[in-house]
């Protein structure tokens, strides 16, 4: 029997092509997501970024009137950068000074203005060892 090309192969090839097409379409329309950076890397950036840092007090203001104000610094490292932040919207339960948080937003006149409701806190380290390599 002559071996003709299987429709299965055609189907798979077409699907892969369709998948790639959808993918390209998506990335061309929606862009590629936001870069995730630390407070010390923020200087000079104008676009929307995801900022991950450690909350430095004092925390003042009202998240539902005028905005919550605090500062963020790098989670690790020696950088002395402190970025002032203004945030409105839901404040997660775990938010407080000393916690690691992630915010979407952009720098405006030296203040990082977060998108409303974008704050995510990372789980406190209580649930796990304090440092990496802590195992023995």
């Amino acid at each position: 029997m002559a071996r003709k090309a299987s429709p299965a192969r055609l189907v798979i090839a077409l699907s892969v092509a369709a998948l790639l097409a959808v993918f390209l379409l998506y990335t061309s329309i929606a862009g590629g997501g936001n870069p995730s950076i630390a407070p010390s890397e923020l200087a000079g950036r104008t676009g929307t970024v995801q900022l991950a840092g450690l909350v430095v007090g004092p925390v003042t203001g009202d998240a539902h009137a005028g905005g919550l104000r605090f500062r963020l610094r790098d989670i690790g490292g020696e950088s002395a950068t402190r970025i002032p932040v203004r945030y409105t919207g839901s404040v997660p339960d775990l938010f407080k000074a000393g916690r690691h948080i992630v915010l979407d937003g952009r720098l405006r006149n030296g203040t990082f203005v977060a998108e409303p409701g974008s704050m995510i806190t990372k789980c406190p380290s209580k649930y796990a060892p304090k440092r990496s390599g802590d195992s023995a």
């Binding site: 839901s90 997660p92 796990a128 440092r131």
Partner: protein, 664 residues
Amino acid sequence: MPELGRAALVVTLGLSTYALVAGAAAAYLGRRRLALSAQNALVAAFFSTLVASGVLLSALLRHDFSFTYVARTTSAALPTGYTISAFWGGQKRTLLLWLLVLTGFGALAVRLNRGWARDLIVWVVPVFGAVAVFFSFLVVAVASPFAVQPAPADGAGMTPSLQNPYMLAHPPLLYLGYVGLTVPFAFAIAALLSGRTDERWLIATRRWTLVAWTALGIGQLLGAHWAYVEVGWGGYYAWDPVENAALMPWLAATAFLHSVMIQEKRGMLRVWNVLLVMLAFSLSLFGTFLTRSGVVNSIHSFTQSSIGPWFLAFIALTVAVSLALLFRRLPQLRSPTRLESPVSREAAFLYNNLLLLALCLTILWGVVYPLLSEAVRGEAVVLGRSYFDFFLRVFGLPLLLLMGIGPLIAWRKASLRSLVTTFRWPTAVALATGVVLLLLGAGSSVPGLVTYTFAAFVAATIVMEFARGTRARKALGAATWPGAFHSLISRNRRRYGGYVVHAAIVLLAIGIAGSSAFDTVAEAKLRPGESMDVGKYTLAYRSLDERQVENATEIRATLGVSRGDRDLGTLEAGKNAYTIEQQVSNEVGIRSDRLTGEDLFVIAEQIDPDGAVYFRVFVKPLVNLIWIAGLVFVLGSAIALWPDAREQRRLVARAREVGVPATR
């Protein structure tokens, strides 16, 4: 006591190594007695792991804070149930749980199948041994759960949001799922190693895959419900990497469960099935890695740990070895039959598989993209919600539609005439539903409307199948309609259980579309006596109260709820302040409407000292269908899993057909 635990784990490592080395030697050389002793080593490894687990559990229950982990995850005041749940709460425990379930499943799977698939089993044992060696090595040498310290007066306690009944069941179910996928993987690898690539490895593991898949599915739904009632941001799924970690292997396993039917019935997709099972297992390893290594920024990432590199290395090794084996056996896996038409049941199943896989891989891409972009461009780029939502729609909606088409379309080649006859009514139902909903104003969300229309289509096909089947059984002599219905299901549990699961997915789709595409949000700052409107509801803020319970202070705002003129009673929302853990948690107020499945969801976001409260309120239509879908899902799986004497006879006959060699 910690010495006993540590010793037991070392014994497990030794026994697993023996199961691997002796098992492989026995299989290669064809030594029957050696193979039996390797099997016994696997069983013994389960019991030594059980001893280690017992030591830990007793330390937790005795509040022995000289165990570092007990001190870190629990406190003396923690209720007993949550003290037990700390057993799978942290990284080291979950690795121990992995090992416990792995050795247990391994021993059981070997025992259940050694009668009729002995030639496979001799190779299954060393594969299980290899995986067990990895996990026992981790708990012995890298992340021992038996670290000790001078005992502090009290432990650090448990994160408040984990003090929830769902957390008792959610993690173990996920791990049953993750580990359960090891069984089909081990059998697939054994089939490749032994060169016995007939369908028996699929048949031997069908139930295991189903159990693992069900556990993964239910575990995820419980996690979603936990997030909904406990984390309290108003949603149930956030495309968090750790949530995706469980979704990806579930999707791969779903594809596998469907494509095995094609191999069983038509002998096609053999290579594909092996690939899928490898993917499912690798993804379950990857899922464990994501959950437990903290590699991706995530609200769940509990820890930065030392096990990460080991996990990556093991995953890489698994993938490399499995692919190498697959290539070696490629000629044997040639399919004797081929796809005859792109419009046939085989083809529909193939499309289903491709879509499931596409969804799975795009999610994988979204999960690893931050890591890849960091490695390549030096900065991590995060793909947000919209990325995942987009692909869920693009691949999920066609999948939903195929769920109605696949089970009904003819095998081999469907004619146009048969298509019209089969699908005329479901299409009519779907179009009618679409038009009615459009008139009712559902056009505000096109994806939502499409979901409802497709869901109506699938629901109609399922009802039709049950009705037609029951009528046929009645005509064939069943005395009563319920009798006919029962006989229909019991004669083909797999098929009708599958339909019930499909019905669950329909409910799930409707619930997700209703609550995400047609929800209402409102927020306002209220003083006692003030009120706000949300959708058709009116909320009147009455009072703020504080009360002291065992381990927390509870602050609750009481709201009077009404809809139109009807008084619907009161609702409480507020916060808990946990004393020992020094944390605050949101306690949302939820009012479910039993008739419509709609939820009124109230978050007290901010409570000012003067008694003013900032409320955020959602109205989520149909959201309760998601949880009902979970129950239907379990029912469907149970029907498909129910022991079936007729099937058992078929299996034995099949084994005889293949001819199990008697020499081993």
